[in-house]
């Protein structure tokens, strides 16, 4: 049961990154692909129906930890307390920017909110990447299962570690580039005109950067956490996820130059699901790696809740997750076709 819930939690986080990732990407790129007011509104119209629904997957992932791995959630949220509050502030500011931007026609008002939207999207991509780096590198857990982290120390990955070091910054930059590349494909698929042209061009450049950074980040992960990859070949799910990631990035690189934007975007989703899935499957059963030795790490077994409650929760998960997927399918169908900037006084 702990294995099942570990997989569910990893899957929910991966879906969250693939979904909210494309609207983060659209936010990161909006100053570059959309220059006029109506182009900015076209970008917002493209992500408008999706972004808040996408964020619900983060709640679902957090909920999975709450129900199945309460000790992991307690230790992680406490240890990363300030970083998580910063993420929350960025999410709130970004939501306000999207909702308030077009209510007032004043150029200064709109430029200010456009800046908040782009800056918050950029910071969120880096924060989530750095958080992922922290999990892979490990945190200074004590024997009681708690830890505190400074924002940074000496930028090495040896104790005393901080939230930011050369490795977690590298993963943060990789997340920024990958989510921008992901968002560029979404915009290329969902928009037309000048925004489409610029997104397509940026997508090509960004995906070359992703293809270059991916092996570099993988090598760095091996240096920081040598236990991560050796066991991978014997784990079926890890191998499957790697195939998904390679197939995904190959699809992007083949379909993008030929104008297959939907196929390329789906390839990009597969790539993100694949790299997160492969990392999670290799990381198992660890959920919070300790820098002070494996004995201190919190695993799915030591951090898990009561088996009986996990079984009950599984039944509700099997009811709830198809409903969330159905909602996504309905919204995608309702808003099929190219996004058009809303008229003045309406929409985003």
């Amino acid at each position: 049961m702990f294995e099942v819930w570990y997989a569910i939690a990893a899957l929910l986080f991966a879906i969250y990154v693939a979904l909210d990732g494309f609207d983060f990407g659209a936010g990161i790129l909006s100053p570059f692909v959309a220059r006029t007011d109506s182009e900015r509104r076209q970008v917002l119209a493209a992500i408008g129906p999706f972004w808040d629904g996408n964020e619900v997957w983060l709640l679902a992932a957090g909920g999975a930890l709450f129900v199945a791995f309460p000790r992991v959630l307690a230790s992680g949220i406490s240890g990363f307390y300030f970083a998580i509050v910063l993420v929350l502030w960025c999410l709130i500011g970004r939501g306000i920017a999207i909702e308030f931007r077009s209510h007032v026609a004043d150029p200064l008002w709109r430029t200010a909110w456009d800046f908040v939207f782009a800056a918050a999207s950029t910071l969120l991509a880096v924060f989530f990447g750095a958080a992922f780096g922290n999990l892979l590198r490990g945190v200074p857990l004590d024997s009681e299962g708690w830890f505190t982290l400074a924002l940074f120390t000496d930028f090495t990955t040896r104790d005393p570690v901080g939230i930011l070091d050369w490795y977690t910054i590298l993963v943060g930059v990789f997340a920024l580039v990958a989510l921008a590349a992901h968002g560029a494909l979404f915009l290329a698929w969902k928009t037309d005109g000048a925004v489409h042209e610029r997104s397509r061009r940026m997508a090509r450049q960004l995906w070359i950067a992703v293809a270059g950074l991916w092996p570099l980040v993988t090598a760095a992960s091996h240096v920081v956490n040598p236990a991560l990859f050796p066991g991978m070949g014997r784990r079926g799910l890890a191998a499957l996820a790697i195939v998904l990631a390679i197939g995904g990035i190959a699809t992007v690189l083949v379909r993008l130059p030929r104008g297959g934007f939907l196929a390329a975007f789906l390839g990009s989703c597969a790539f993100l699901l694949g790299i997160i899935g492969a990392s999670a499957a290799s990381y198992f059963p660890v959920m919070l790696r300790a820098t002070g030795g494996d004995a201190l790490s919190i695993t799915a077994y030591t951090g898990g809740g009561d088996e009986a409650s996990l079984r009950t929760a599984l039944r509700w998960f099997l009811v709830g997750s198809p409903l969330a997927l159905l909602y996504l399918a309905i919204v995608l169908r309702l808003h099929r076709g190219k996004a058009v900037a809303a008229a003045e006084g309406e929409g985003y």
Binding site: A74, I77, S78, G79, Y81, V85, W89, I96, T148, G345
Partner: protein
């Protein structure tokens, strides 16, 4: 507020005390700082909300305009 304060010192009534549920690794100063941050953020949000609502009220409802598909409906402005 009534529910939260009335239940003290329990986090889960009869089962789990607030003191047992607080994080040992989060310091009071950090909590105070983030609490002030949240208050500031929501204060700004509240002021912006009042500003936008005030504008909307000053502007008044739009004129009755014919809508495609027949019938008259108040145009949202």
């Amino acid at each position: 507020m009534t529910a939260e304060l009335g239940r003290q010192p329990w986090l889960v009534y009869g089962l789990f005390r607030t003191a047992q549920g607080s994080s040992p690794s989060v310091h009071a100063g950090t909590v105070l700082f983030t609490l002030m941050g949240f208050c500031g953020l929501y204060l700004v949000l509240g002021v912006l909300f009042l500003f936008l609502i005030g504008r909307e009220i000053a502007h008044g409802p739009g004129a009755l305009a014919p809508v495609a598909g027949g019938g008259a409906e108040v145009a949202h402005v």
